[in-house]
């Protein structure tokens, strides 16, 4: 620990802390637009400048290490004035269109402009007209609004290892775009949306599709069905003043019904089906096709896209099972439509997802039309649903927290819930795989080693005499290491290092998804994860195979897991894709 003073207050911080962290320890907030709590400093915006006794110039708090005995001054009138000047400079090169911006009211720049009481423009406008990029249909890139903080680049390049985005040109003309000035759709972008989740302003947003949903809801001939992903329920509340991790499942079902949805299902049920198929796949490969191990999970569309672009040699190892919401979409337009006697073509299926990539997934391959039409019509992000709820004037706190989803695709097990957090798919699959391999329930259902925010988590589990070596990776930047071990073993003809690998593109899994509520950080991710793990613990049924509604689905409709019908409806195919289309 080192000791220093900030504005006269003594603080102790661990060695290696920055001045910004030391100030935070003294409960002093230094403004910054570029520094994100979890990411290394880019030192771009300059707003965090402070004075340090004995140093001739102002220094950046975000990137200057705290030293023992340092005397830091963070908010004297001179510093505040410098910050105001910098803020005015940033604003003068930023479009003046807050009212029509997707970040209005939740923008970090707007907040600071408000705090600094900036009422007039001291510098003439330098706004530059640049085209918007909606090419992916998942995220919207508006380079005019970019303040060059570099957070999205840190996510896209270093954390996610995708390198779709980069800074182009230099000086005042610096702008964000895929290298080579191609569109995002032509770039290696895997639609994870982490750029949008970390952007402090409205330069990168989710591609808004709420209008298409409103249109379907207004159409009396459509039977509108909604499903909510596990992680949405623990994040959506943040926009309405709830703590991260507050589970609002009941309020959400209720709200969706109030908005006009005819039926509300839960993606958790889809997750249970995924587990039935994927755990069976695992058991099958262990028994009869060990050369196809390790099995790699595919619930995450961003990861699927990443793999098809960068690791196509691993396609054989991929679980062919579709993701939970895709499965639920197919089942709604087949099983449910059949059961209720509804014309599948009249069903309008909306997925509420933590994710921007799900927008891409619903049309990515022929198997996404297994029901005969498009299985999921629209995939919305948490943030889009937030806006729809606001438009409806619904006050979440007045809604019924005990509201339940509709049958037969609504009742879920605890295993379905934890799909939303890194390690959850693995944990749920292990619970069921144990049963499929041994025919017995497993006593110990929780795998503490697979939880938490470490980028790579490993464990060896004994399942009915098989020592199963599993790995969980989240954040695409961590995948390379795991896959490289597999690749090396293959090359050298050595035994495989793993039998089963779970990958989620976003840090923390879906709770940290690119379409979740703003202001994500590791602290927030942990709270959201805790919310889901808590719900699993209180569920009566905690394994997918024991869910009576799952049993009914297989008995009445699908037959066995991996049956021909299940394979046709619930499984998909992969193909190598080029990184660049141009």
């Amino acid at each position: 620990m080192i000791q220093l003073t900030v504005n006269g207050f003594e603080v102790q911080v661990p060695e290696g802390s920055t001045i910004l962290e030391a100030a935070k320890a003294a409960e002093i907030k230094i403004p910054t637009l570029c520094k994100h709590p979890d990411l290394p400093p880019t030192a771009a915006c300059g707003l965090c400048v402070v004075k340090v006794e004995g140093m001739p110039d102002l220094v950046r708090a975000c990137s200057t290490p705290a030293q023992p005995g340092m005397q830091v001054e963070t908010h004297d009138p001179e510093i505040v004035n410098v910050r105001r000047t910098l803020l005015e400079l940033i604003l003068s090169a930023h479009p003046n269109e807050c009212l029509t911006c997707g970040r209005h009211g939740a923008c970090e720049l707007q907040e600071l402009a408000k705090d600094f009481g900036i009422r007039e423009e001291h510098f003439p406008s330098l706004r530059r007209e640049l085209p918007r990029d909606d090419s992916t249909g998942c995220i919207t890139l508006d380079p005019r609004k970019c303040i060059k903080c570099g957070r999205c680049l840190e996510m896209c390049q270093e954390q996610q290892d995708v390198w779709a985005l980069s800074f182009m040109e230099r000086g005042l003309n610096t702008r964000i775009a895929p290298a080579g000035d191609i569109s995002l759709a032509e770039s290696p972008c895997v639609h994870c949306g982490q750029c949008s989740a970390h952007c402090p302003v409205g330069a990168i947003l989710e591609f808004d599709q709420t209008e298409a949903v409103w249109e379907a809801l207004r159409d009396p001939t459509r039977h509108c069905v909604a499903q909510i992903a596990p992680s949405v329920r623990v994040s959506l509340g943040e926009a309405f003043g709830y703590e991260p991790g507050a589970n609002l499942a009941g309020q959400l079902y209720h709200a969706l019904r109030r908005m006009g949805f005819d039926t509300v299902f839960d993606t958790n049920f889809g997750a249970d089906v995924t587990i039935m198929e994927e755990a069976s796949e695992l058991a099958e490969r262990i028994r009869s096709a060990p050369e196809k191990l390790p099995l790699i999970t595919t619930c995450c569309p961003s990861w699927v896209d990443f793999m098809e672009k960068f690791h196509a040699d691993m396609i054989d190892h991929f679980s062919t099972c579709k993701s939970p919401h895709a499965i639920l979409g197919t089942l709604t337009k087949t099983y449910y439509a059949e059961k209720e006697g509804i014309d599948p073509d009249s069903i309008f299926m909306v997925s509420i997802m933590p994710c921007t990539a799900k927008k891409y997934e619903i049309t990515r391959e022929a198997s996404m039309y297994a029901s005969g039409g498009q299985d999921v019509d629209i995939s919305l992000t948490t943030r889009e649903l937030t806006r729809m709820i606001r438009q409806t004037g619904i006050a979440l706190e007045n809604l019924n927290c005990l509201e339940l989803p509709d049958s037969p695709l609504g009742e879920y097990s605890g295993a379905g819930v934890i799909f939303g957090v890194s390690g959850g798919v693995m944990e749920s699959a292990l619970r069921s795989a144990h049963y499929f391999l041994t025919g017995e329930d497993r006593a110990e259902l929780e795998f503490e080693e697979l939880r938490g925010l470490d980028g790579i988590k490993e464990l060896t589990v004994n399942l009915g005499g098989h020592d199963l070596r599993v790995a969980v990776a989240h954040g695409l930047g961590h995948v390379e290491q795991v896959l490289e071990r597999v690749r090396q073993a293959k090359l050298k003809g050595e035994p495989m290092p793993y039998d089963f690998i779970e990958v989620m593109a976003c840090p923390g899994g879906c709770i940290g998804g690119g379409g979740q509520s703003w202001n994500v950080s590791n602290a927030v991710r942990e709270q959201r994860a805790a919310g889901l793990l808590k719900e699993d613990r209180v569920q009566e049924v905690r394994t997918s195979y024991a869910n009576p509604w799952i049993q009914q689905l297989y008995r009445d409709f699908l037959g066995e897991p991996l049956s021909e019908k299940a394979r046709h409806l619930l499984h998909t195919r992969y193909q190598p894709r080029p990184e660049y289309l141009r």
């Binding site: 400093p41 771009a44 110039d57 400079l89 060059k148 040109e169 000086g171």
Partner: protein, 619 residues
């Protein structure tokens, strides 16, 4: 020339050097050196060279006269330049502005003075070879061989003690002794920062053994500075040898020269030099049997000014966007490919062999106590003798401008001198007697920079000069941090306002305040120093700013918006001005008084130049 064979050990190198000396002694008694740097070639030296060669043939003087193509002699004011050197008397005559048709005379006269050709005074000495000369302001350590040897011949380099320092270092010294010698010598980084080179080496040397890198920063970007190019084109082996020595000192086996792609001749000569050094066993594995391995590769820069900043430079080598990052960690701890790396600029490196040959004590005799050694300046602007000059640290600006540069051209009065390139500042007559080093220049609000020195006379508008330098920074800002990216644009807007007479006193106040903010809050050296030209002119030439703002007047007559052309009573109505005006804004019947339409006039001044009766006034 001797054939190149790998040298086994130190003795083999000494033997070769001795052989070369004997060979030289029995060679042609007269040597004509022709300045064939990029600048010389651009000034049409090639036809001169060809004329000299063919004249030697036709006068059958092949055995008497040897022609050597050298790098730049630094005498830009009189290119093409040649030096006629007599081996017996060891005397030289320098000729400037040589024309091909003067070749017969020059060859005929050999080492006696050829009449009708401009003779230039040589005003430098080489501290390594002769003692200080009170008459000559210049002392050439860095430029010792530049303009003297054939840069494309390793034999020429070895013949002037080349690679002797490396041989001595790798066979008789320990790495920490080398570093200590550098610390004792007190050499400071010539790229502009002035950080002690030995201390930088020591940081890197102290890092745990393993992969380390030595980088030569040859991304010379200051407008008007070209000393690094001159060294690379004129004496490439000196840089390679120094890199190998620094590699030995810090424990690096790989060196990289980061050179801008706009220097094709320097690249060509460096590539050749690297190949020659490898063929001779002076680069590669087990150099001179010492067990020390070292090799060098070239990386080309795309000409971004900011890539002269070491962290941006390293990014660029790694294939990333050339952007500076926050230090620490310093490159000496975590540099290229995250390995300990030292980055030294060309001029710094060009000092190292001399220090190793003659020792730290010798080096400290030159220059000042805090800044031993010399500094090369690219003297440009309104001075009579523009060119490359190398003077001991502590020389006064007056000695450089009025001594070496022989004062202001065209009988105008000296107004200011700008040092440090776009990051530097302007100095006035009062500052001329300051002995220059890093600290004294900084104290005057300017800086050493890489050594650009632009002299200005009364016809230069200081506001316009500040605007010019800011335009450069504006183009070259990487765009990463707010103050530099947007702030400099704002400064430029304000200067445009001043130059066009639209500014008020508040503009000047805002100009100063914003300059201070940019200086205080920019991330790297480029941004931190970018307002210097503004701040220093504001301070030193406030009168001129006030003239622009209060009186709407540009005394130097440079800012076109504040200039007005009028036709006086001397006009005879010859119509010459009207016929020459590019925008046809002058009216008047022949033999009658003419008028300029002020609304349409673009203030180009053509009418004034055209008028034969002094009838056009500029005010």
């Amino acid at each position: 020339m001797s054939t190149i064979t790998p040298l086994k050990d130190r003795d083999a190198l000494s033997t070769w050097a001795a052989d070369l000396k004997t060979e030289r002694a029995s060679g042609a008694p007269v040597v004509i050196r022709v300045s064939m740097g990029t600048c010389g070639i651009a000034a049409k030296t090639t036809p001169v060279l060809e004329a000299l060669q063919s004249e030697i043939r036709s006068q059958q003087k092949e055995s008497q006269i040897e022609i050597v193509q050298t790098g730049c002699m630094g005498l830009c004011h009189s290119e093409p330049t040649i030096e006629v050197y007599d081996r017996q008397t060891q005397q030289s005559i320098f000729y400037g502005n040589v024309k091909p048709e003067q070749a017969p005379t020059l060859i005929r006269e050999e080492s006696s003075q050829a009449f009708g050709v401009d003779v230039l005074t040589q005003n430098w000495y080489r501290p390594e070879e002769t003692d200080a000369d009170v008459e000559t302001a210049q002392a050439r350590i860095v430029l010792r061989n530049t303009g003297r040897i054939d840069p494309e011949s390793i034999a020429d380099y070895v013949g002037t003690q080349g690679y002797a320092a490396l041989a001595n270092v790798v066979t008789t010294m320990q790495p920490d002794e080398v570093t200590q010698t550098m610390i004792d010598a007190g050499l400071r980084g010539r790229g502009g920062g002035g950080f002690p080179t030995g201390v930088k080496w020591q940081f890197a040397a102290k890092q745990p053994a393993g992969e380390k890198y030595v980088i030569c920063n040859a991304d010379e970007g200051d407008p008007g500075a070209f000393m690094d190019r001159a060294v690379l084109e004129g004496d490439p082996h000196a840089v390679l040898e120094a890199m190998a020595i620094s590699g030995f000192a810090i424990g690096a086996a790989q060196g990289v020269v980061y050179i801008r792609a706009e220097y094709p001749l320097a690249i060509e000569r460096l590539e050749l030099a690297i190949q020659q050094a490898r063929d001779c066993g002076l680069l590669g594995t087990n150099i001179l049997g010492s067990g020390f391995d070292f090799d060098i590769e070239l990386k080309y820069g795309a000409g971004a000014f900011v890539c002269g900043e070491e962290t941006a430079l390293i990014h660029s080598i790694e294939g990333l966007r050339g952007e500076p990052i926050f230090k620490p960690p310093f490159p000496a701890v975590e540099g290229l490919w995250e390995k300990p790396t030292i980055v030294n600029n060309v001029e710094t490196l060009a000092n190292i062999c001399a220090i190793m040959r003659r020792g730290a004590k010798w080096f400290r005799q030159i220059g000042t106590e805090k800044c031993p050694g010399t500094k090369v300046f690219a003297l440009a602007g309104k001075v009579k003798r523009v060119g490359l000059v190398e003077v001991p640290m502590g020389t006064t600006l007056r000695d450089i401008i009025f001594g070496v540069g022989q004062g202001i051209a065209n009988d105008r009065a000296f107004k200011a001198v700008q040092t440090g390139g776009p990051s530097g500042g302007c100095l006035k007559t009062e500052d001329l007697d300051t002995p220059i080093d890093y600290e004294s220049l900084r104290a005057l609000g300017s800086m050493m920079g890489s050594g650009g020195m632009i002299v200005m006379d009364e016809d230069d508008c200081m506001v316009n000069i500040a605007k010019y330098f800011l335009e450069f920074t504006l183009d070259e800002s990487c765009g990463r941090c707010t103050p530099c990216r947007i702030g400099n644009k704002r400064l430029h807007e304000m200067l445009v306002k001043v130059c066009s007479g639209r500014a008020d006193m508040r503009t000047l106040e805002k100009l100063r305040q914003l300059s201070d903010t940019i200086k205080d809050t920019s991330l790297c050296g480029l941004g931190q120093t970018s307002p210097n030209p503004v701040l220093s002119t504001l301070r030193q030439f406030r009168r001129e700013y006030l003239d622009h703002v209060m009186n709407h007047k540009c005394t130097a007559g440079v800012c076109s918006a504040l200039v007005r052309y009028d036709i006086n009573e001397r006009c005879v109505g010859c119509t010459l001005c009207a016929r020459n005006c590019p925008v046809s804004c002058i009216t008047g019947a022949p033999k009658e008084h003419h008028e300029i339409d002020q609304e349409r006039c673009i203030k180009c001044g053509v009418c004034q130049q055209a008028c034969k009766f002094h009838a056009v006034d500029k005010h």
